[in-house]
């Protein structure tokens, strides 16, 4: 298996409740099944209750790394929410970062209460673009809502990620890993979500 770099550091992040942990576990298993050594660190517990959450994936063919990515050392960022994407870039970004963003905002408590306004989406995306080498976007939540269940957004994002062909994480591998994790009756909808993500993702000009 070839990785763009070794270790290859991935962050999957968003808001508690978006299925971030499951997405990192699925991707981790996909990469382990392709022969890599993966270490995942994730936020749990209180942060699940609507706070910022992220999983760090350290992927290597040689060594085990710590479950936390050092500052400025992310290679790939998968953000399930736009401002969370920018927040993570603040700490882990670098000029070679590749970023995949779900463009659907989730308002913070301070935004709900009117203390601050949610920043203009196009501005957030342009900041992310300035701080990344390449950016891809899709509205995964919108697609998931159309499919009838917003929680599918995480799998839609994994589908989008596979279309970028950065990692050996294609549909066949996804299918196999999901088969180990989910009951047969949940397979069709997850595969469909994966495919929708593959089709919808676009590079941000």
């Amino acid at each position: 298996m070839r990785l763009p770099s070794d270790p290859f550091n991935i962050i999957i992040g968003g808001v508690g409740g978006q299925g971030n942990v499951l997405a990192s576990m699925i991707l981790g298993r996909m990469l382990v099944s392709q022969g890599s050594i993966v270490t995942i660190g994730e936020t749990y517990g209180a942060s699940q209750r609507g706070g910022s959450v992220m999983s760090h994936l350290r992927v290597s063919t040689q060594n085990q790394f710590s479950p936390l990515i050092p500052e400025g050392k992310a290679h790939l960022l998968v953000a399930l929410e736009p401002i969370e994407g920018l927040r993570m870039i603040g700490q882990y970004g670098n000029p070679d970062l590749m970023t995949l963003i779900n463009t659907r905002p989730i308002h913070t408590l301070e935004v709900l209460s009117g203390k601050v306004t949610y920043p203009d989406l196009s501005l957030i995306l342009s900041k992310i673009k300035e701080l990344s080498k390449k950016v891809w976007t899709l509205n995964a939540t919108e697609i998931a809502l159309r499919m009838g269940d917003p929680i599918l957004a995480n799998v839609i994002m994994l589908g989008a990620l596979s279309a970028l062909e950065i990692l050996p994480a294609d549909r066949v591998v996804f299918n196999k890993v999901m088969g180990d994790l989910f009951p047969p009756e949940r397979m069709a909808v997850n595969l469909q979500a994966f495919d929708h993500g593959r089709e919808a993702v676009q590079e941000l000009a």
């Binding site: 993966v38 749990y44 209180a46 209750r49 700490q91 970004g93 408590l109 949610y118």
Partner: protein
């Protein structure tokens, strides 16, 4: 198939807690017990999931002390057994542990304690390793997920050799990290239980047993002298010798490699951290005059090794010790590769930049300028938000500045914005009711504020029952709000004695909350938190009438459990003609004050709006709106 049961020789991506479970299964564990608490909860959860298949007993006990007693009994009967807890759980279990050390164990007995450096999901930051020293018990600290499995397996053998319980200290970044784990063999045969009645397990004679305990600890130190869990990597005479354990080791390794210092810095990994392998350690200390300790929470290694050095300094010569004591590393919070790298940089005076300075400042500035903070709060449709809304209104109507004493669970968020800052204390499990026993008896000195306390269904069985008995006996006046959301929600929906389910999924008798409270002599009423007006009224009446402990049981299933099982109760919609927006005079009561993430303010229309991706359709917000603009239709 459950990944923790996959055949020997396979590599699986396991969570640290799953690796502990697999290690225990490989060792032939037969009895396992715990009370849930992050970051330890998945140990028992994953063992429970395979309990039927493996023919083992796995239980959620009502608290950690009972859990430890359950597994110790199995050990007395010759079976291998495991108990798991978070740091606070160790405080609950320690009374038994500090007697169990004197009687010793039979079948291998392993106690896992998962600490939470940085208090990521805890009410405190605590180093449980001190209990190993306090109880004179052997302590192991794994540094990788593979090692976590191997150490757990070995700990059972060690326990049987020493006839002592063995403690394993994990931390969040071990328990909740995942990594590749190569699986080993599962045993085919396991012993039958038998309690040898000719060898009673009593602590008497205490002094003799205390002496025996020290002998066993000496034997453990001897075994640790040659343990492969202790290793050194690096030059023969490094400029700096790092001594690390647990998650600190991988951080230190990464720091040394990324700083390009592998030829200048030596890295020692200590897996057996109590008792210390003295001879081996003294030999290691000869390598360098500069030592840095990398460990999380308290300076446990640092203090113990310094103590050892004090006895041997005439032969070892002068050394400089760095760590928490001289602030080379922070005294509190969790470590990470950056913090360790910074400490090493400072000590060896090396320059390192993780990314271009110009990029760093642009990235930080963008976050500072454009990214609002994201505070945690109750989930959309959470019954606790509705409960605190009723509390807030009832206390305001009562007007005597009532005090709500808090407890541990999701409802601890009652201290923050989404609980309208109603909760005024937060300590240990059951402490809300205990404190209420105190404040509830101060009326004779002139305290005229009504006293309330809150607890969850699982917390009630864990530690609130004794406080309620105390209240009735001594005549304390307070209202206990018992928030029954049908599970241990905070830690992942584990069942408890009120749910009718066991850890294994089998049915169990339901211990009825109402009947227990009544048996303890409390007046009991019930209400539905989603019925805001009724609940507020009931609470106000309880505040103004009645004496002694009064219990109000507020029943509503956790929104996350509800979301998994059924569809929305209601389809919510804002009538845009009725919502008056900022002209209403309610000052955005719905979004500014009630703060359910499913209900957002649309700056384009200047009116409220339902976020369909988040709203769970509980229907409560319809009661909040003074203009009746929030509509609900049965979904």
């Amino acid at each position: 198939m459950n990944p923790i049961l996959n055949p020997s020789g396979r590599t699986e991506l396991l969570m640290g807690n799953e690796a502990i479970a697999r290690g225990a299964l490989e060792a032939g564990v037969q009895v396992c017990a715990a009370y849930p608490g992050n970051p330890s909860s998945e140990i028992i959860a994953s063992l429970a999931a395979v309990s039927a298949e493996m023919g083992i007993h796995v239980e959620w006990s009502v608290n950690e002390k009972v859990a430890l007693e359950v597994v110790a009994a199995a050990s007395f009967a010759g079976l291998r057994s495991l108990c798991a807890m978070k740091q606070n759980g160790m405080n609950v279990a320690c009374d038994f542990l500090l007697n169990l050390n004197l009687t010793g164990s039979g079948g291998g007995l392993v106690v896992i304690v998962a600490d939470d450096p940085g208090a990521l999901s805890s009410t405190n930051e605590e180093d449980s390793r001190l209990y190993a020293k306090l109880a004179s018990l052997p302590l192991l600290e794994p540094a990788t997920i593979q090692e976590t499995k191997e150490m757990t397996r070995w700990a059972f053998e060690l326990s049987e050799t020493l006839t002592l319980p063995v403690l394993i200290r994990s931390v969040t970044r071990i328990s909740h990290a995942r990594s590749n784990v190569l699986l080993g063999d599962l045993p085919l045969e396991k012993p039958k239980p038998y309690f040898e009645t000719t060898q009673p397990r009593v602590t008497f004679p205490v002094i003799k047993n205390h002496q025996r305990l020290y002998q066993k600890l000496g034997q453990a130190a001897q075994i640790f002298e040659t343990s492969l869990y202790n290793e050194y990597r690096g030059p023969v005479n490094p400029e700096l010798l790092i001594m690390a354990c647990g998650s600190g080791w991988l951080y230190a390794l990464e720091a040394v490699v990324s700083l390009g210092l592998v030829n200048r810095v030596g890295l020692l990994k200590l897996g057996t951290t109590w008792p210390l392998p003295t001879t081996w350690l003294m030999h290691q200390l000869e390598k360098s005059d500069n030592v840095l300790f990398v460990e999380e929470v308290d300076p446990f290694l640092e203090n113990n090794i310094k103590e050892l050095y004090a006895q041997h300094c005439p032969t070892l010569g002068l050394k400089r010790f760095r760590g928490k004591a001289d602030r080379s590393l922070p005294e509190t919070g969790e470590l990470n590769p950056d913090i360790v790298a910074k400490a090493v940089q400072n000590l060896l005076n090396v320059f390192y930049q993780s990314r271009p300075e110009e990029y760093s400042s642009r990235a930080r500035e963008a976050v500072q300028q454009w990214v609002p903070g994201r505070d945690i709060g109750f989930c959309a449709g959470c019954p606790h938000r509705a409960t605190y809304w009723a509390v807030k209104n009832a206390l305001a109507l009562d007007g005597r500045k009532g005090i709500l004493l808090g407890d541990i669970g999701c409802y601890s968020l009652g201290m923050g914005a989404t609980g309208f800052y109603q909760m005024k204390t937060l300590h240990a499990m059951g402490s809300g009711a205990g404190l209420a026993c105190g404040l509830g008896q101060l009326k004779r000195f002139g305290l005229n504020q009504p006293v309330l306390t809150v607890c969850g269904d699982s917390t009630f069985y864990h530690a609130v029952m004794p406080a309620l008995a105390n209240a009735r006996y001594n005549g304390a006046n307070f209202i206990l709000l018992l928030l029954d959301n049908s599970g241990t929600a905070m830690t992942g929906f584990q069942p408890h004695p009120g749910t009718g389910k066991k850890a294994s999924g089998e049915t169990a008798p339901v211990l009825d909350l109402k009947a227990i409270c009544q048996a303890l002599g409390a007046e009991v009423e019930e209400a539905d938190p989603f019925q805001l007006a009724e609940t507020t009224e009931t609470l106000l009446r309880l505040l103004q009438e009645g004496k002694g402990p009064r219990v109000l049981i507020l029943r509503r299933e956790c929104a996350l459990i509800r979301g998994k099982q059924q569809k929305k109760l209601f389809q919510m919609a804002i009538d845009q003609t009725r919502c008056l927006g900022d002209q209403c005079g309610c000052n955005r009561l719905c979004t500014r004050v009630y703060k359910c993430p499913g209900l957002v303010w649309d700056p384009l229309t200047g009116k409220a709006k339902i976020d369909e991706a988040i709203c769970t359709g509980c229907g409560v917000c319809a009661e909040i709106c003074p203009a009746s603009a929030i509509g609900k239709e049965a979904a």
